[in-house]
Symmetry: C2
């Protein structure tokens, strides 16, 4: 078993007494090559075990047919579905997908952006790390007219494609739903206010309260670092220890919402009677937990597909036009047991 050399179009050309250009063209069904030659070339290529070298083609054509993806971490339901949507769409168009994780670290994000650039990806799809404030490391892509799509966790100001949901209106809808169920003291589990998906959800929450003449109590707005299960348990216990505890909780993600439910149950409180809960994302756990967790849908797969399509369409156009374009996907309130109260 020796290190075998790859068969190249040169080898095929030699064998068939043709030129490499003919081979190259024949393999791509170029119209100027005769049917007969094409057949012959393909057959010989097959027999000789020829495998195209994408690398060489990419170098020559300056097109890699690869989409780079830069996200916090893969193993979260929303993100893995997002990637699934991206990959599926890319695959259909003959594109590869390179995945990199920032682990929510700014430093990693910068490094991965560099690495993706060096790989000469055709386009890049990114959901920002929790830590990231400055986004100048993405300028390199804009400068080279490499299509860049921010998805979900997008920067406030950056002239490029953005694919997201209307977090403000989603936050408003979630809060309004709790109000309609008769809640009057509604707490909010807020994520990092540096990520505007979270600040928008909070803004929707606040406005819903105001428009329904409910007071905004700062004690009921809990700013989480991670929105993790552990943090959720801690914060919920503190919250329920208040003299005047809330009768409703709107959490900016499902993980923290689930922890709130379990925490409340453990303390002997009834959900939704004593405290109604609504989450965000509609993760699989939402329909598994008892009582079922009401939530806001977050169309992950579709966001992935849409992002990939933005890249692919941009690459199709020959002339580049204005790059700023924001796509909003719709969300819905999914009502389950955790928020169904008798109307007051």
């Amino acid at each position: 078993m020796e290190e075998q050399k790859d068969v190249t179009i040169y080898d095929i050309a030699e064998k068939l007494k043709l030129s490499t250009s003919t081979i190259s063209r024949a393999l791509k069904d170029h119209h100027s090559i005769s049917e007969k030659t094409i057949k012959k070339v393909k057959k010989t290529a097959e027999e000789m075990g020829y495998r195209p070298n994408t690398l060489a083609a990419s170098l020559r054509s300056n097109k890699t047919k690869t989409i780079g993806v830069l996200i916090s971490r893969i193993n979260r339901p929303f993100i893995s579905s997002l990637i699934s949507g991206i990959e599926e769409t890319a695959q259909k168009a003959g594109y590869n997908v390179i995945i990199t994780q920032s682990h929510d670290s700014y430093e990693d994000e910068v490094n991965m952006a560099k690495a993706l650039y060096s790989s000469r990806v055709s386009g890049i799809i990114c959901s920002l790390a929790m830590e990231t404030r400055d986004t100048s490391h993405f300028k390199q892509f804009i400068d080279k007219n490499i299509p860049l799509v921010f998805v979900d966790r997008v920067p406030k100001r950056f002239d490029t494609y953005r694919v997201m949901i209307d977090n403000y209106s989603a936050g408003y809808k979630a809060t309004k739903h709790l109000i309609e169920q008769g809640c009057t003291r509604i707490a909010h589990y807020a994520g990092s206010q540096f990520r505007n998906i979270y600040s928008e959800r909070k803004r929707g929450y606040v406005d819903a309260l105001i428009e329904h003449n409910l007071p905004v109590d700062e004690d009921l707005i809990i700013h989480f670092n991670t929105l993790s299960y552990e943090e959720g348990v801690m914060r919920t216990n503190k919250l329920l220890d208040l003299k005047n505890p809330p009768d409703g909780i709107f959490s900016a993600n499902d993980t923290a919402a689930v922890s709130a439910i379990q925490c409340a149950k453990k303390r002997g409180l009834k959900v939704p009677e004593d405290v109604a809960v609504i989450g965000f994302n509609d993760d699989p756990i939402a329909s598994i937990i008892d009582p079922g967790l009401s939530s806001i849908t977050h169309p992950a797969v579709k966001m992935g597909q849409t992002s990939a399509k933005k890249i692919l369409n941009h690459l199709k156009k020959s002339k580049k036009d204005d790059l700023t374009e924001i796509t909003f996907l719709n969300t819905e309130v999914v009502v389950r047991e955790s928020s169904k109260r008798k109307k007051v």
Copy 2:
């Protein structure tokens, strides 16, 4: 905003009146280049906005520093954690990760294997599609001494790296646990018997019954197509309709186990008193559902890390040696409420 050309080492060489070889070496801290030159080159490269072209380097050196991953679908807890482990390990070693999905289709798997080969990946990690029977499309990698790791869903016979858990012993442990809890009629939710992870789990189940002098009742062995939630509900209802229903269920995954619990609850049965349940994978839902689902751990992240390390180590070795190596990672029974019965 014109299409800007990339700055190359040639541009730097010209500016500094040096040769491209010197630049190339300086950028890699080659020992034969003087400190002074290295500094100067790096500074100029920075100023000119030089970005290395991985593509060209790969073509030249015939090394892509890329690991290809071929799995069924990303958006499943086990798989996304697996990939997370792979990516993390690869990233530390300066490797990229290309992700492809087979969607459990044999045809897609063959195509993706081809695509990964064409990308000249340095190594490939694969978990087989449900459909796959024949694995000859992986021979191309072996022939070219490209390290290939099968993980979790591995083929029965294929001389290469395999990273897996001992499914037989895990199935045995799970069943034994139920027996110890006093179950005497234990059903098994089995996955496709063409994938030996499932046939092994079943074998462990059967042997545990036999060794504990319990009858093996074919009516209690349910062969699933997908082990999905929906199928789980259907099959569980049928099972519980039996004249002589089971008092314990060992499911080959958590999804089906969860559906069994919910189904039983809906029918007024108590878990674990009327029917004890144990799943497989220890997915996040296992600790969320009520009662908590007992399960078998499936060390996804670690399996990913291990697989990536196998690739990286193989690439480090200059001489290739025997390629067959099976790594078994340990599993544990996690006991939660769904299987805790008073001892008989």
